[in-house]
Symmetry: C2
Subunit: 374 residues, 2 copies
């Protein structure tokens, strides 16, 4: 019983954490529940019974399969599903007609051959990077629908009806999902991407701003005080690639919303993301110095102290300025003076280093990264 | 027409590249085609018509949805699908019986309520990290099946039949996919993970082995000759996190195969992977020096030359030794002398550096990384 109660506490804690990390997750659950209830009751009362019979289940199926967290992902899946079903139905009906012409024995051979070819080709196509990014689900549904329709044993007329029925119920389910997703507290993948990239740059800025002081403090007395979480924040930037890429893929499906147009240049965010990661790798190396056993002798330290702190805090300010410029979609005009400051500081440091000190040479590499990102 | 032919050439080139990058992709396409043909023809001839009617389509659907590239992913999806269908059918039949007791008006209200609760709860559960990793698909199928069964307007007996029918056709489809996937040229996620981690470490080793010489050559005459691809190989390690994690998740589903047991400690690969990435970040920083404008004065260079090259090539050898040890599942006994060598070299360099040179201090940080990884 103690073990059980520990387990329950654990589950409660996880639940709370999942919900607190992003309260929109609860709303998402409610949205899905709502859409499912609507479609299920529609299926239950089935006002179209005469036309569609039992195939309204395809609508229920479509809602749950299509409904994703962000609008972009939902639209991508919904449109993929509808368009792929449409195309595959056409092709399936055509092949089915062709096969009926070949008679009793020829029919299964011809159908088997076509199913094999289409399934193999569509599966192989899913490995193409461009296909995988945008039409992966569509290719799956295409194969599926083609097989269902073409292999059906019904007559030609009935197969056509079946295809239309399937298409309309899927359209119904997918559009229920898409409409619920867009009009009730939407989560836009584009906004997510936008904030992710800006926050990542801000985290890098936080690190750099604090790094100079922290480093010198450690060199000084080996002790550091106060809140050091800003020194860890950049770690999440190191592995941000896959989430940025999938968000950018989703965002491409999204219509005009808020400050973003349809066909906003989402790709640029990936470019900035790559630069931010480059920067994070350098910071990871810098961070290593905080735990390094090698101590700079005090006489050298006092010489470089000012320049180092200056470079670090100024480039941190540059990055934070850039981050807030991205957030507000303004030009980062306030960043220029900081860049100038840090360049001057870097020059001073360089001059100092000419005297034979090399330690912070990768701080120098921070500056181009920050400049390029602007 | 020229534009068209350029496009065709482009497509042919992509196709060739996709196939050459991993020829197993073609085999995978053929496998899926084969499994689909078998199930489709089974559906076409329908030897079980008396028992199952048209619901054999669920088998076709299951094959294409469950079939993934690696055995682990296929097993994961297949088992998720079968088990979730089983559980949801039970619950659905139960709720359906309960609802019929409440009479004409109560029934839709009760059903709507249950559908809402189950759909919302299951959707929310999918955000839990442990759930997402292993049971994401199962939760989807659970919701889906529960809605289909519970909302059905059939009588109690027929609903039970429907549930059994659905379960058996899905079992049929999923097992066709799983059997084809395992017995025809299987692609084991565990093997993939194993090779990925080993190759990544090898790439890091290649870089380090060549780095020392390359760096000094650039310092020397600014020119470098020969093949430099080994200097770029490590870049792919930087972003290996997500693929390693998904492979580890898939691998957990796999039974005993080749040199790996069921419940092989796949998590350890992730630990090694994290260390390898840590190492790659340091290498990224080192790589920056190759393009740095700052040149070490020749008199200093000649002093550190020997120690630097030694450290770099010895730690490179350590990593390559570790990689081949991982590949062959042996103990990395041959690595020890190299570690010793590089430690001696590092000591020498440290002594040299005490004289006032600091530049390569992050080479020092390579050594713990290499040692820890062993």
């Amino acid at each position: 019983p103690e073990k059980l109660s520990a387990k329950v506490v654990d589950i409660v804690r996880t639940t709370k954490k999942v919900a607190e990390d992003d309260p929109r997750r609860i709303i998402h659950g409610i949205k899905v529940g709502l859409a499912m209830t609507v479609v299920s009751l529609f299926y239950y009362f089935n006002p179209l019974e005469d036309n569609f019979g039992d195939s309204t289940i395809w609508a229920v199926l479509s809602v749950i399969v299509v409904f994703e967290f962000s609008v972009g992902a939902t639209l991508g899946k919904g449109l993929n599903r509808v368009i792929a079903t449409f195309l595959a139905s056409f092709l399936g009906v055509g092949i089915h007609r062709l096969a009926t012409l070949t008679g009793e024995t020829g029919q299964p051979i011809l159908l088997g051959l076509f199913v094999f070819l289409i399934a193999a080709a569509a599966t192989f196509l899913r490995f193409f990077p461009q296909m995988k990014a945008r039409y992966d689900y569509g290719l799956l549904i295409f194969t599926l629908t083609f097989c269902l329709i073409s292999v059906s044993k019904n007559g030609n007329e009935e197969v056509l009806d079946m295809a239309i029925e399937r298409l309309s119920t899927i359209l119904m389910g997918a559009s229920t999902a898409m409409i619920t997703c867009i009009f009730i507290c939407p989560v836009w993948a584009g906004d997510e991407l936008h904030n992710l990239v800006a926050t990542n740059i801000e985290k890098l800025g936080n690190f750099l701003e604090g790094f100079g002081g922290e480093y010198l403090r450690i060199l000084g007395d080996g002790q550091s005080q106060g809140d050091k979480t800003f020194l860890q924040g950049y770690k999440s930037v190191l592995n941000s690639k896959s989430s940025e890429e999938s968000l950018a893929n989703f965002a491409k499906w999204e219509p005009h919303h808020g400050r973003f147009m349809f066909r906003h240049p989402w790709k640029q965010y990936l470019v900035v993301g790559v630069l931010a990661r480059q920067c994070a790798y350098q910071i990871e190396a810098l961070n290593g110095y905080l735990n390094s056993e090698i101590k700079t002798p005090p006489e050298i330290r006092s010489k470089i102290q000012e320049a180092c702190t200056k470079i670090s805090s100024e480039s941190g300010k540059v990055l934070k300025e850039l981050a807030s410029a991205i957030k507000n979609l303004t030009l980062p005009s306030l960043a220029d003076p900081h860049i100038a400051h840090s360049k001057v500081a870097a020059k001073n440091l360089k001059a100092l280093l000419k005297t034979g000190l090399w330690e912070d040479s990768n701080v120098l590499e921070m500056i181009p990264a920050a400049t390029v990102a602007s």
